[in-house]
Structures are given as C-alpha cells and as structure tokens.
C-alpha cells in the first residue's frame, strides 16, 4: 500500500490535459506515478472533471454489462463439433 507521503508531488494540469488522460486513468493504464498524481490531483480539485469521470465510470459499467450478447445454442453446438474434430 502506498502512503500519501510516497506519492510524487503533483503538477497543476488544465482540464484539457486531464481529459486527454481520463480514459487511460479509468482503464488503469497510467503507470507513470507523476502522471497519475497529476490527474488524481486535478480530479480532486476540479468538480466538473470529477463529475465527468464519474459519468464515464458509469458508462464503462453499463458497457461491461450490456456488451456481451447471449451465445445461441446452435453456435455452441457448432463450436463443440469443431473442437471434437480437431
């Protein structure tokens, strides 16, 4: 676990830069600790970007729930036939 004191000091970034990093941040793709610190700092101080991030989080959740279609039985049977013929 990271202590607050271990975090690098954040630089001020504007909304444009924060938004450019937002999806990478929400997808846990920011590995650079300074970039991470910058965006977290911005989100904790900018109400508009914070709300936007929450909205994007909800949309991510809805996509995860809705994106996978049901697998028709006919397709399952066909794929199992393919596997048994290997």
């Amino acid at each position: 676990m990271t202590n607050e004191s271990d975090k690098p000091e954040a630089n001020e970034i504007d909304c444009l830069e924060a938004f450019d990093h937002l999806y990478a941040y929400l997808n846990n793709e920011i590995t650079n600790p300074i970039e991470l610190s910058n965006i977290e700092h911005h989100l904790s101080h900018c109400k508009s970007c914070f709300s936007r991030a929450e909205m994007e989080r909800k949309l991510n959740q809805r996509m995860k729930e809705s994106g996978k279609s049901e697998l028709p039985e006919a397709v399952q049977n066909r794929l199992r036939n393919v596997l048994s013929d290997l």
Binding site: E17, N27, S66
Partner: protein, 199 residues
C-alpha cells in the same frame, strides 16, 4: 499426457471459456449473426492450426482475438462497411490530438448535463440494446478498440497486440471512440424521444 494432448486440452478449455466473448466480438464486427457464427468457427479452426505460435499461454485472449480480427479483415470487412463511416472523418486523423481533446470536453459538458438530469432519467431509460446500437454505429477501428477494452477488459497493450498497432494509437482511438459513442448516444436519445429538448 503428450504435448499434443496437453495443447488440445488447454485449447478446448480456453475456447469453452471464451466462446461468448468471441461470438460477441464477431457479431459486433460483422453486424450479422450468420457471418459471426462462421467467423468464430473459422477462427477456432485457424487458431488450432497455428497453436504453436502461442508462445505464452497467458496471452491466449489477445492471441485468439487477433486471429479473429485478421479473419474479419480478410474475409468479412468489405460486406460490413457502412456509408455512415465517412461522417467521422473529422476525428480520423491521429495527429489531431488537441482538436479531439477540445471536442471531448465540449461534448462531454453537454452529455453530462443530459446524463445527470433527473427529469430525463437517461441512465435508467437507456436500455442495453440502445448502448449496443450506439457501439455498432461507431466506425470499425474505434468500435473494436472500445469493445476490446471496455467490454472484454483487455489492457491497452493487449489491444495493441490484437490490432497490430502501437499502444499510443490504442489510446487515441479510445479517446476518439468514446467521444463518438457519446455523440451516438446523444443522437439516439433524441431519435428515441428520451429527451425532448436541448439541455
């Protein structure tokens, strides 16, 4: 157990676990259930024939998604391209970073107000199929990127491997894809009468 038996057991287990994901991606790419079924069956056969190319078994998902995507490009893409894709030219330039970021901000303000408006209750009224329709309206390069990351849960690195592009391009396609998705949802909500006036 021989190496081949071990490979076959591993491959069969992985296909069983990923059947639904493979079909879902094929369906969103081809937009046609018969083609999706054929594409997945061909992917499984092709993948088994090149199983030796899977060097790291933990990378099975990006490996098989890449085979599926390549199969789609070579055999199905022509059929699935829709004229609407030309309307997204404004966002297709990968070098146009600043303009896209500005669009993201402007558009999101509008989208966010609409989303959060309790009178419209958008989040509650939006059905899964509405969201799917919006995803399907995206140009293919953005659609596949959003699906791999936001539905299948692949990392940017794995998505780059599937699509044979750099992680930086994945990142810019994600930004553009999500911008277009908001645009499509906004339009869908207007067309479906979920919103009746500008917010």
């Amino acid at each position: 157990m021989s190496q081949q038996e071990d490979d076959k057991q591993f491959f069969t287990d992985c296909i069983e676990q990923n059947m639904r994901s493979l079909y879902a991606l094929a369906l969103r790419l081809t937009c046609n259930s018969a083609d999706a079924e054929d594409l997945v069956a061909e992917t499984v056969t092709k993948a088994w024939s090149v199983i030796h190319s899977l060097q790291d078994r933990t990378r099975f998902r990006p490996w098989i998604f890449r085979i599926l995507h390549n199969g789609f490009i070579s055999d199905y893409r022509k059929k699935s391209i829709r004229p609407v894709e030309t309307s997204y030219d404004e966002l297709a330039d990968d070098n146009n970073k600043e303009q896209v970021a500005t669009l993201l901000i402007q558009q999101s303000e509008e989208f966010q107000q609409w989303w959060a408006n309790p009178m419209d209750g958008f989040a509650n009224n939006l059905l899964g199929e509405d969201l799917i329709a919006a995803i399907e309206s995206l140009p293919e390069s953005f659609r596949v990127t959003v699906l791999l990351i936001n539905v299948e849960g692949l990392s940017y690195d794995e998505t780059a491997e599937v699509l044979n592009i750099s992680a930086g391009t994945v990142r810019s396609r994600m930004n553009r894809g999500r911008t277009l998705l908001q645009k499509a949802l906004w339009q869908h909500a207007k067309d479906a009468g979920l919103i009746t006036e500008e917010v």
